[in-house]
Symmetry: C2
Subunit: 334 residues, 2 copies
């Protein structure tokens, strides 16, 4: 209501509980009760306090609140890089679920450098996060293990190796591989090759393939890249020219396989069916669109928040290792 040169950039000096209290003529403690919806105040005071809050543009200072309550309602998310194809999806799921649960999210990436992982953990812990979700990929997980031992609420998404005693959530890769092979079998394929990779020793996809395939497994291992896929597929055709299906370790390799199969005069899917793994975006754009296994990273992220939340709410809860199903995405390559 004041005349003059108001407007423009009035840097509103943050007001506090005390300012509101003074305005209304009650104690700060009473304002605090109203703000937090506790009991112990009359309807009339509540209204006057609310009015004063509006007028002053009061916002609670969550730092001060957290300092005393020992709860910040924040969680941290640590990943490798947003240029990784899956991490944005995981982060999206984390963000959605966190927002749903009223949690604010810290975010950091490590580029798989152990020092940066340690640094990210340190700052987040120093900022009193209630818990941390990590999607560490290849990196050395020992800083994470140490944090968990220190009592930090921690959930690891897709740990590279099993970490007993630590909360984690992984995709059911073996079941996914079995589903892929079974899909090929039910669509009439019987000579199914596995275009695999040997980078990690106990490869769950390979295990699933071996469990599901009938007769002698046809396995070639190579690098998990486009080049590896090209070479590996040629090797497969040389060793078993009569195959009628290829199950690949990932979509990039599957696309390479399609290319080699076409070059060799085999039509996909008529002569040879191809199933990939990962459901990268590209796989729905190529011709023929690729049948593949989808890990549903968004849901994976959301689930990891729910797990973390249950840790926060139930201190001393026993660690849990959740497996998340992988679903078949049927397109035109099978």
């Amino acid at each position: 209501m004041e005349a003059g040169l108001a407007g423009r950039s009035m840097k509103k000096s943050e007001s506090t509980l005390h300012d509101v209290a003074r305005r209304v003529g009650v104690s700060p403690r009473t304002v605090s009760r109203v703000v937090n919806g506790e009991s112990g105040f009359s309807e009339a005071t509540a209204e006057r306090v609310q009015a004063a809050i509006e007028e002053l543009g009061y916002r609670p200072n969550l730092l001060a609140r957290s300092l005393i309550t020992k709860r910040s309602n924040t969680i941290g998310l640590i990943g490798v890089s947003l240029t990784d194809p899956f991490f944005p999806e995981v982060a999206e799921g984390v963000q959605r679920e966190a927002s749903e649960l009223g949690l604010t999210m810290f975010f950091a990436t490590t580029d798989d450098e152990p020092d940066r992982l340690t640094a990210a953990l340190d700052t987040m812990i120093s900022r009193a996060v209630d818990g941390i979700i990590a999607f560490p990929v290849q990196a050395d997980a020992s800083p994470l293990v140490k944090a968990a031992d220190d009592g930090v609420n921690l959930v690891i998404v897709h740990p590279a190796e099993p970490l007993p005693g630590i909360n984690s959530i992984s995709s059911d890769l073996k079941a996914g591989a079995i589903a892929a092979v079974e899909h090929l079998q039910t669509t009439g394929r019987s000579r199914i090759a596995y275009l695999g990779t040997s980078t990690r020793s106990p490869n769950k996809r390979a295990t699933g393939y071996i469990a599901a395939v009938e007769g002698e497994p046809r396995i070639v291992t190579t690098a998990p890249t486009a080049e590896g896929g090209l070479a590996g597929t040629r090797e497969i055709l040389k060793r078993w020219p009569d195959i009628d299906a290829v199950f690949a370790y990932n979509d990039i390799m599957a696309l390479a396989a399609i290319q080699v199969l076409n070059e060799s005069g085999r039509a996909v899917p008529n002569d040879v069916a191809v199933v990939g793994f990962d459901n990268i975006e590209l796989s729905s754009y190529v011709s023929p669109p690729l049948t593949t296994m989808d890990m549903d990273h968004v849901t994976l992220g959301a689930k990891s928040v729910r797990l973390l939340h249950s840790l926060i709410e139930n201190p001393g809860k026993e660690p849990e290792q959740i497996v998340h199903p992988v679903t078949l995405q049927v397109r035109r390559s099978t």
Copy 2:
């Protein structure tokens, strides 16, 4: 050194400056000085303090520190969704630069809902961020304007419309369009059509095209989607069958254009050259790989952090509108 049932999950009770101080036999204030690298302590005490910090696993409580210093060394990043094709790149650039500057990042998405934008701003401000970067896309920017008026350090990336008095950073779309057209001209094309869209009124790309093209502009506007691209390109061919180049509003439309051109018996790039805009990932995988304009979102994100940082360090700094260049990515479609 203690025997017994130690190990396992020793929830290390957070230690404070007081604990360290007691251990060393100095005052907390002295420990604080050592931790912050201030002056006023001897080399000997510093060493003993450091040792005690190690032993106790002391971490400064950044909430308490921020509460009193009024600086949190945190910034917030608000975007629409990580499923948006560009936001992860912006976020990656923001994260890298923030990490470089010692800033911790809050993160939130809005799905273009104004209420969620307001909510994200509110919590971040309540958590005393030093500044906020927003990548709002279509949403109503008024909550952002209000925040800026309240004195929040704010940088908007790619504001939908110019917001005078507010710090922003945008891609130089007009210059990009000019560069695209000039590239076509220098490679010998003279009858260049623009496959545009009419969603936003003063379209910078259209302006650039009109400025650079020689003779009468050939413009068709349609929806900025694959379907729009198909229909628009057919319209172009009907009206100007003799065109030798198409400049599209975005890559999706450019890819649709290539498809229609091929169907009409025109070879790309031999008969007609095509330039897109955005440099989406897909554009390097298609055949022929698409020549397009790259907005370099990672650098854009990094620059926005530097701008925000300068705001934080220089209170009262005049608002700045930065334009970031768009670069030509030549591939095989031209």
